[in-house]
């Protein structure tokens, strides 16, 4: 090596390894940048309508069976477990109201989001992670296309649009589960159950549930996409991306749940 090079190399300082705090702050900054980029690109033409529809279908189909089963069981078990407590006060007729408040205000959006985080979030993380490590995302970039718009925006929009629909469906299936339990034990008719189910619900309940589902859907999509899009270290990285997508999304969903419930309670 010549002298000039040796001198230059001597003057090149070794980069200091970042600590956990700086790593955390850098991650936070990068996630914010990622979200801002989503809003900048998602609503500017050209739109990838076909891909959005395909992703909505994928999101719905992937979670449909599990959500149907879980929603039904949640409704059934919640009703069954609540009966003895209400029975002590001779208030079993309040079961439909109790179930409706629990399901529509909290359980339906939360259960749907947690299932979707596991099924859809991990899938987005793994899929994009795999595309990253096999250079498919780079290939899109160098061919003058916009991989962020095609891969990230479509998936995030799909989860944001689909989770509220799935949450509504979960609520209805859970209502059915609750009805079966009440019908078997109290002989309540379906019409009466439905009327008592919806009576205690207010406009605020529906709006807060809708907002929650939208926020959860966005979180699942953006976290999965972020983990996958910046996946590194080969196949190990793909596994980490899928795992990270689920763990981070679930953690954020719980925080968002608490926050939105708190905010909603101020309006009641």
């Amino acid at each position: 090596m010549d002298t000039a090079n040796s001198t230059t190399l001597q003057t090149e300082k070794k980069a200091k390894k970042p600590g956990w705090l700086s790593k955390f702050l850098v991650s936070l900054y990068n996630i914010n940048k990622f979200i801002i980029r989503f809003f900048k690109e998602a609503f500017v033409p050209p739109f990838e309508f076909k891909e959005i529809v395909r992703q909505c279908y994928e999101t719905g189909v992937r979670s449909f069976t599990l959500i149907s089963l879980t929603g039904f069981i949640v409704g059934l078990i919640f009703t069954k477990q609540s009966r003895p407590s209400l029975g002590q006060f001779g208030a079993t007729s309040w079961l439909p109201s109790l179930v409706s408040i629990a399901i529509m205000r909290a359980l339906a959006p939360l259960v749907t989001a947690l299932i979707a985080a596991g099924k859809v979030g991990s899938s987005i993380g793994a899929e994009l992670g795999s595309m990253r490590v096999t250079e498919q995302i780079d290939a899109m970039e160098v061919s003058g296309t916009k991989p962020f718009k095609f891969l990230v925006c479509t998936r995030v929009l799909a989860t944001t649009l689909t989770i509220p629909i799935l949450a509504t469906y979960t609520g209805l299936v859970a209502m059915l589960g609750g009805y079966i339990n009440v019908a078997v034990n109290e002989g309540t008719s379906f019409n009466t159950f439905v009327q008592e189910f919806f009576d205690p619900l207010t406009f605020t309940d529906f709006v807060s549930s809708l907002i929650k589902s939208i926020v959860f859907g966005f979180t699942i999509g953006i976290v999965g996409a972020y983990q996958g899009y910046f996946s590194t270290k080969g196949t190990e990285g793909v596994g980490k991306a899928a795992n990270g997508a689920v763990v981070t999304a679930m953690f954020l969903i719980f925080i968002e749940e608490i926050t939105i419930v708190q905010i909603t309670s101020w309006f009641r």
Binding site: M1, N5, T8, L9, E12, K14, A15, P46, M131, T134, E135, Q136, D138, A139, M140, E141, V142, S143, G144, T145, K146
Partner: protein, 257 residues
């Protein structure tokens, strides 16, 4: 096999790089690269694994940013370019990836249509079909049009990867290890394809490889990357006519000696 003689315009550089440096944390990969690629030329960059060959072409295509130095591609300075300008410039550069990087959820047809539909607004279905057929014909794989990438062999995947870049009529082709992981016969076929692409599409190319057969068959000029710099440049024979202990083993361990 003799390399077909495509005209090289030595008065017209399509890529000019001066003083390029790139580090990853405390690992200094490129330590002052100077390079000119002439119109119509096939330049082979030779070097051992991990010497920064792929990093060089990823910087040229804007996938990585340089720490220092100027990179002028088709008259535009990569370091001082807007996202939109970079996107437009990339359409003029074809990048063939080491592992082909085919979109594995799409058929061969969809792989080829993907960049075309997104970069040629208002293109008709008929024009798309014609263009897809043309590039598949150029790489000799018209029969694979409806197959998925997972159904293709390594050599076929490389060819489709090249076809996907050709569909936008690039002026520059960047090949990252085009013969890596292929059997010797397929390697020769890929080398021939690289030369055919240069002749037919009048491209200028940078071919990253450590395969000397590929270097000899495709290269108009060879640049040897050692210790983060181009230590030797010239024709194949000029580069290896040396007693340099860093260059000789490269040649000695290769079957073409």
């Amino acid at each position: 096999m003799n390399k077909p003689k495509a005209p090289i315009d030595h008065n017209n550089t399509v890529i000019t790089i001066k003083g390029l440096r790139k580090s990853f944390e405390d690992y200094h990969v490129l330590r002052g690269i100077d390079l000119d690629l002439y119109q119509g030329e096939n330049l082979v960059v030779l070097g051992r694994s991990g010497t920064g060959k792929s990093v060089l072409i990823k910087i040229i295509s804007g996938l990585l940013t340089a720490d220092h130095g100027s990179i002028n591609v088709l008259g535009q300075d990569i370091n001082h370019i807007t996202d939109r300008e970079l996107q437009e410039l990339r359409i003029r550069i074809g990048f063939s990836f080491q592992n082909s990087a085919l979109y594995d959820s799409m058929t061969v047809r969809k792989n080829l249509e993907f960049p075309l539909v997104r970069n040629r607004k208002g293109i008709s279905k008929k024009e798309i079909d014609e263009k897809v057929d043309e590039v598949l014909d150029a790489v000799g794989l018209i029969k694979t049009i409806n197959q998925m990438p997972s159904e293709l062999s390594g050599g076929q995947r490389k060819r489709i990867g090249i076809a996907r870049t050709l569909i936008l009529n690039p002026e520059i082709m960047l090949y990252d290890e085009p013969t890596a992981g292929l059997d010797p016969i397929t390697c020769i076929e890929i080398n021939e394809l690289i030369n055919e692409v240069q002749e037919k599409y009048k491209t200028s190319s940078i071919i990253i490889t450590h395969d000397l057969t590929c270097a000899k068959q495709t290269g108009d000029r060879i640049a040897m990357l050692l210790d983060g710099q181009f230590q030797r440049q010239g024709t194949f024979d000029e580069v290896f006519d040396t007693n340099d202990e860093r260059v000789k083993p490269f040649f000695d361990y290769n079957f073409i000696k």
